[in-house]
Amino acid sequence: MAVPPASSPASGYGRLIRWIDYRLPFVSFLEHEFTAYPTPKNLNYWWNFGSLAGIILVIMIVTGVVLAMHYTPNSDLAFDSVERIMRDVNYGWLLRYIHMNGASMFFLIVYIHLFRGLYYGSYKYPRELLWILGVVILLLMIATAFMGYVLPWGQMSYWAATVITNLFSAIPVVGNKIVTLLWGGFTVGNPTLNRFFSLHYLLPFVIVAVVGLHLIALHQHGSNNPLGIDTRGPQDTMPFHPYHTIKDSFGLCVALLVFAFFVFYAPNFFASSDNYIPANPMVTPNHIVPEWYLLPYYAILRSVTFDILGIPAKLLGVVLSLGSIILLFLVPWLDTSRVRSARFRPIYRLVSWLLPIDVIALGYVGSQPPEGWVVTLGQVATFYYYFHFLVLMPLLGKIERPRPLPISIGTAVLEATGLGNARPAERH
């Protein structure tokens, strides 16, 4: 039996593992990517959210697969099948509440992860594709979450499906034909529900695939870090295991506590009570709101109340709403500064905190009926969102004077711990 020499990554294992690893280098892969994988030694807790998002994705898929065993994707039966899950299926309430609140947790974590990237310039050379793949994941998540929200076939499900699919009617000339195609009929109906169920089951696995690409791109150049400077060698890095496995585990425990609080004590906190009324194509609820994680896009959509340059308000609202995400694809080139971390960019540091405030304001606007000053606030916040990316980002890179960068991660870490002046011999 040919067993590879002791120098292979699996050399610490028994003969069987080494025999397998020589042919299928799975142990070597794990060793290389999750054990020895060098990470900057100055990563802070903002760097927990990537692995957290991955774990939530797994939780969503596992609960979703089991829920699909009990769910019936038929417009006459869907609502009752969800109620059956809640009342009759053993632990069905738990599985559904995990899945429901898991969507909120997933978006919360991913939005923090995204903000981390913006703040520390993680999208800059050579991580542009890593960032773009992340935005692709966000788009897939939005599509998946929206279609999942339709499946219980409550009032909010039905009217969310109606409103969102009608966005496509803003497309000139062929808009209405596209909407009919999406529906498979002349309103949202059983064919719509069936295809949404099919896609809601498919897309998470597409997300898994793109997450795989995201990780390949990440591991090519390694994680960015709070200083935003490149690692220069082993003195700047730590192996992923045990340092980050344990730190990520701790972060996971905290996140699961928050998750469990909502699942067990406030399971409908993020939900709309209207969605416990069966879908009725004849009556629209008085106040339609999407789930919280889509409120900012919804606010932008509604903020365009007037035609501009002959473009109808309806089309422009759709374009700006979708554009708010498309804009993220361009961020690596919109930001003209060569300094990654906002720590060394005094103006951008301030501005980067204004963005989440602006997005939260948009979220508030999206949650309110579009009347009075709320409309104005939405228009101002929409304008600022675009102003941030299209004007501030390119401009600050030109006019801002960044603070001096540390020589290396190692020296910066040692200075922070008061050991910076110690001679090498004394560092032990």
Partner: protein, 184 residues
């Protein structure tokens, strides 16, 4: 950093280190937690409450004449109800019980001799035996005959020939009156 970790690892006394202890306890707790978390997923695949609620069936026996056989559904399975004739009862009771593959006297299988209630699922591989409809092949013992693999049952639903290992199962049932039963 690495040196610090190294000094902790070697600082243990009788072979076990602080790190060994932490890994063991944290791993054990995590393992128990994961096992507990898996249970709801597995249990959700068991019959749900509405499925269990369908598990009794009431049958009115009054219209069933002697010699007639009736099929009812219980938990999605066919239950054979046979209003046996005196000859059929006699045939069932006159068998040498010790000679049977699955020895059971007829008195242990029928609460009232004229009414035989059995689950109509062959104990070999789950087919439904013939014999409950008029004109069916009842086999040489006048009971039931399974067309899938040739198992032959007598008028008490006991296995007499063929590959099946056991008699047709008697479901739990009670007479709620002289002419009505509740199965399950």
């Amino acid at each position: 950093m690495a040196d610090l970790a190294h000094s902790q690892v070697t600082a243990g006394h009788d072979g076990g280190t602080r790190r060994d202890f932490l890994i063991l306890t944290a791993g054990a707790l995590g393992g128990i937690g994961a096992a507990c978390a898996i249970w709801p997923f597995i249990d959700s695949l068991n019959p749900a409450k509405d499925t269990l609620a369908l598990s009794t069936t009431e049958v009115d026996l009054a219209p069933v004449q002697a010699g007639q056989r009736l099929t009812v559904a219980w938990r999605g399975k066919p239950v054979f109800i046979d209003h046996r004739t005196p000859e059929e009862i006699k045939a069932a009771q006159d068998v040498d019980v010790a000679s049977l593959r699955d020895p059971q006297p007829d008195s242990a299988r029928a609460k009232k001799p004229e009414w035989l209630v059995i689950i109509g699922v062959c104990t070999h591989l789950g087919c439904i035996p013939l014999g409950n409809k008029p004109g069916d092949d009842r086999g040489p013992f006048g009971g039931w005959f399974c067309p899938c693999h040739g198992s032959i049952y007598d008028t008490s639903g006991r296995i007499r020939q063929g590959p099946a290992p056991l008699n047709l199962v008697v479901p739990p049932y009670d007479f709620t009156s002289d002419t009505a039963i509740k199965i399950g």
